[in-house]
């Protein structure tokens, strides 16, 4: 089953604009991560935000987390054509007495940045 739900499913913007993607989830989490996937390739980790954090920055990326609303957003500023990819949020939970760490992915947002 997939816990995270990204919104929108697809986003098309012009180079230089900002791109915002949202993620909602259902259960309590340890942390939330965002990954990027270029067509036909594996996923690459972008940024991680812990459940006790509200905002995190990394270069042109800004992530927010609202655990009361069970939602997160990923903002990419000053987008470039090379940012074109699918973006997935993944929620991290512990099970099995706290020893089993699992990442559950959403369906992703397909971002297209037009030159």
């Amino acid at each position: 089953s997939q816990q995270g739900e990204e919104d929108p499913q697809a986003l098309s913007i012009q180079e230089g604009e900002n791109a915002t993607m949202n993620c909602s989830y259902k259960t309590s989490i340890n942390n939330l991560q965002w990954y990027r996937q270029n067509s036909g390739r594996g996923l690459v980790h972008l940024i991680l935000i812990r459940s006790n954090e509200r905002e995190k920055h990394s270069g042109r990326l800004r992530v927010t987390l609202d655990t009361s609303k069970k939602s997160s957003s990923l903002l990419i500023t000053a987008s470039r054509a090379a940012d074109t990819a699918s973006y997935f949020c993944a929620t991290a939970t512990y099970g099995g007495g706290g020893s089993n760490y699992k990442l559950t992915f959403g369906k992703g947002t397909l971002l297209t940045v037009n030159p």
């Binding site: 980790h45 991290a92 512990y94 760490y101 992915f105």
Partner: protein, 117 residues
């Protein structure tokens, strides 16, 4: 190795055949994960190994799917009596469990694309 290696990158097989997909994780990574990704979907969890043991196999869809990691490094995902619905990209990932207060980041391989005709 420097990254997670998966072989084969592409596998075409006929319905009913047996398939093995191999994953070579980053050296020293104790945790290994298998995910399955269908077109237009996010990765779907299959199984998680901590060392040699399967700590969580709740995502395996049925008993045709099995995975092993006998020496705590390389893992093999085995699919018996393949069906057309098994067609997907099978992703392997590894992580260094316990790093950064338990906040683990997964490093993914490029995936094995399985097509069942």
């Amino acid at each position: 190795g420097a990254g997670v290696s998966q072989t084969p990158s592409n596998k075409v097989t006929e319905k009913g055949k047996y398939v093995e997909l191999r994953c070579d994780p980053i050296s020293g990574h104790t945790a290994l994960y298998w995910y399955r990704q269908s077109l237009g979907q996010g990765p779907e969890f299959l199984i998680y190994f901590q060392g040699t043991g399967a700590a969580d196999d709740s995502g395996l869809p049925n008993d045709r799917f099995f995975a092993v990691r006998p020496e705590g490094s390389v893992s093999t995902l085995k699919i018996q009596r393949t069906e057309r619905g098994d067609s997907a990209v099978y992703l392997c990932a590894s992580s260094l469990k316990g790093a950064v207060s338990g906040a683990n980041v997964l490093t993914f391989g490029a995936g094995s694309r399985l097509t069942v005709l």
